[in-house]
């Protein structure tokens, strides 16, 4: 049974449809990344999943039961789901009181609460700040305490709204480790909203991709707007100057293009040309390497470490991206 089942969900603000989901299922214990450009409806979806806002239309089922959007019914549900916002606020109390807040309102006794708070703070590496005044923490520490505050309640679902968007590298790495640990334990369902595609790819095997409030069927990878045209029967989609990919299955004109990062091969380029650009980022994720090439728009590429070593490429090198037609999906544009 799915943990969340959303059917025919619509959210309309000022006549504009900001979310339109015919169906969305979230399975228990899995990690999902929630991706999409700004204004795609990600935060709106998180508000529904955290039971903060009722959808204007449609049905939400949690654990198989339809959700009644009444305060008395929602409170027990909210205690199973934790939302960590992009810019979390700390209550003007100590870190310990912040992390223990959810436990205190559940009536947990002080000794058990103390143990759980210590455990949660240990997880995010901030046990030494337990007695500090929470509003005085740095941005990264605040984000980590907010995660500890959510996890102390042992929620079944953890919703993270861009948790690393405004933190430094050290804090980002720690937050990613925490998410990875939770994912590996498989007890908590994770929905990680992020603009960082390599982070999403590394942490979450499942992807929810939103585009103008709608689910984009492409499950993972690069997404662009482009112009599709046909030359001698072959469809080509122009994404940016010098960035063109083979595409088919749509009428000529504006389209959305998805490119699977694993369907791209990179080779050293001698000079400028089609789909050529500098390699701007290389990041090791276990035995896989996540790369980013600047083709006028960033193109994310994933390859095995062994394969990457064989290319002899490094950051700053000019590379040509060879995009396999099977790695390209084309959808009608909006």
């Amino acid at each position: 049974m799915s943990l969340f089942e959303l059917r025919k969900i619509r959210m309309v603000y000022d006549g504009r449809v900001v979310l339109d989901l015919p169906e969305l299922k979230i399975e228990p214990g899995l990690a999902y990344s929630l991706q999409g450009p700004n204004g795609a409806g990600k935060s709106t979806l998180l508000d529904i999943l955290s039971f903060l806002n009722a959808p204007h239309e449609g049905e939400v089922r949690f654990d198989g039961a339809p959700v009644a959007w009444k305060e008395s019914y929602l409170r027990p549900l909210r205690r199973k789901v934790a939302l960590v916002e992009q810019h979390p606020v700390m209550f003007s109390r100590s870190v310990r009181e912040n992390v223990g807040y959810g436990l205190a309102i559940r009536g947990m006794d002080q000794a058990e609460r103390r143990r759980r708070v210590n455990e949660a703070l240990d997880l995010v590496g901030l046990a030494h700040l337990a007695e500090a005044y929470a509003p005085r923490l740095s941005g990264g520490e605040t984000q980590r305490v907010a995660i500890a505050r959510a996890l102390a309640n042992r929620p079944r679902v953890l919703l993270l709204d861009e948790p690393t968007a405004s933190v430094d590298t050290q804090n980002r790495v720690i937050i990613e480790q925490v998410v990875a640990e939770l994912r590996d334990q498989g007890e908590t369902t994770i929905v990680l909203c992020t603009h960082n595609r390599s982070q999403a790819w590394a942490l979450c095997p499942h992807v929810i991709f939103l585009e103008e409030g709608r689910l984009v069927p492409r499950s993972r990878g690069n997404s662009y707007a482009g112009i599709l045209s046909f030359e001698e029967g072959q469809g080509w989609c122009r994404i940016a100057e010098g960035f063109r990919v083979p595409a088919s299955g749509c009428e000529p004109g504006r389209v959305r293009i998805g490119i699977d990062p694993e369907g791209v091969r990179l080779e050293r380029a001698d000079g400028p040309g089609l789909n050529c650009g500098p390699l701007v980022k290389v990041r090791l994720e276990g035995d896989t390497v996540s790369l980013s090439v600047n083709l006028g728009r960033p193109l994310d590429v994933h390859m095995r470490l062994k394969e990457f070593r064989a290319t002899g490429l490094g950051v700053g090198d000019l590379v040509r991206a060879e995009i396999h037609p099977a790695a390209v999906d084309c959808y009608p544009g909006q």
């Binding site: 955290s50 903060l52 305060e71 409170r75 909210r78 205690r79 789901v81 934790a82 939302l83 916002e85 810019h87 979390p88 606020v89 209550f91 003007s92 109390r93 807040y101 959810g102 309102i105 559940r106 005044y133 509003p135 505050r149 959510a150 309640n153």
Partner: protein, 230 residues
């Protein structure tokens, strides 16, 4: 020189614990304390509820309380006088020219201050506090307590402002208290009387006390804020 002489004499009165001066200060503090307490009991919950909830006509209610901030003390004095005078609705209570009448008038004066400032303090609280408490599983009452906790300094400032207003007002005290020596003579009415008599020593002494009380209250508020924020 005259001013300095008077000021020196005023300090002598203060340091000598002059009985008349102490009685006047006592009446002022007593009346101000009870009127502030009563206005808090009404004003803080009212302001908090108006601030935290959304309802039709909320802006009109806020505008009403903001307008009431400008209510002149003499108008309140006249209003309460008409109710408490012998021919008034509550004339039989016999409260006119007593501290009770002064307290009633002062409650009317400062309740709008406490309500309006509490609304402002609560409205300024970031909505993320409410959302955070909700997502952590708080009930409506618990969410309200979180907002109240975050708005506490704003509400304290409202109470301090209200206390400052009543302890320094003169119109209501004069009209409803009558400036009766030992009973309804407050610091401000006494200062006005002494001025009329051309006796500046007691007036200055009372002025120093008035400023001292204001300073003390603000220092206390700052201390509480400082300790809480560590």
């Amino acid at each position: 020189m005259f001013f300095l002489d008077s000021l020196w004499a005023a300090f002598e009165l203060l340091l000598g614990f002059d009985p008349e001066l102490l009685r006047i200060v006592g009446v002022s503090l007593n009346v101000s304390f009870w009127s502030t307490l009563a206005a808090c009991v009404v004003g803080v919950p009212a302001g908090f509820l108006i601030g935290i909830t959304g309802f039709r006509g909320k802006q009109a209610v806020i505008t009403f309380f903001n307008t009431m901030l400008a209510l002149p003390t003499v108008v309140i004095g006249l209003l309460v006088y008409s109710v408490l005078s012998r021919r008034g609705v509550f004339g039989s209570l016999g409260w006119l020219y007593t501290q009770k009448a002064m307290i009633v008038g002062q409650i009317i004066l400062i309740t709008p201050i406490i309500v309006a400032f509490t609304i402002a303090a609560v409205s300024r609280i970031d909505d993320r506090y409410r959302r955070t408490a909700l997502t952590l599983g708080a009930s409506r009452r618990q969410v309200a307590m979180v907002v109240l906790h975050e708005a506490r300094f704003g509400i304290m400032a409202a109470i301090v402002a209200a206390f400052g207003r009543v302890i320094s007002e003169i119109g209501i005290s004069m009209m409803l208290g009558g400036n009766a020596k030992g009973f309804t003579r407050t610091m401000t009415t006494a200062m006005a009387l002494e001025y009329d008599k051309g006796e500046f020593v007691l007036a200055l002494g009372l002025g120093v006390v008035l400023l001292g009380i204001s300073l003390l209250v603000n220092v206390l508020l700052g201390y509480v804020q400082g300790r809480t924020r560590r």
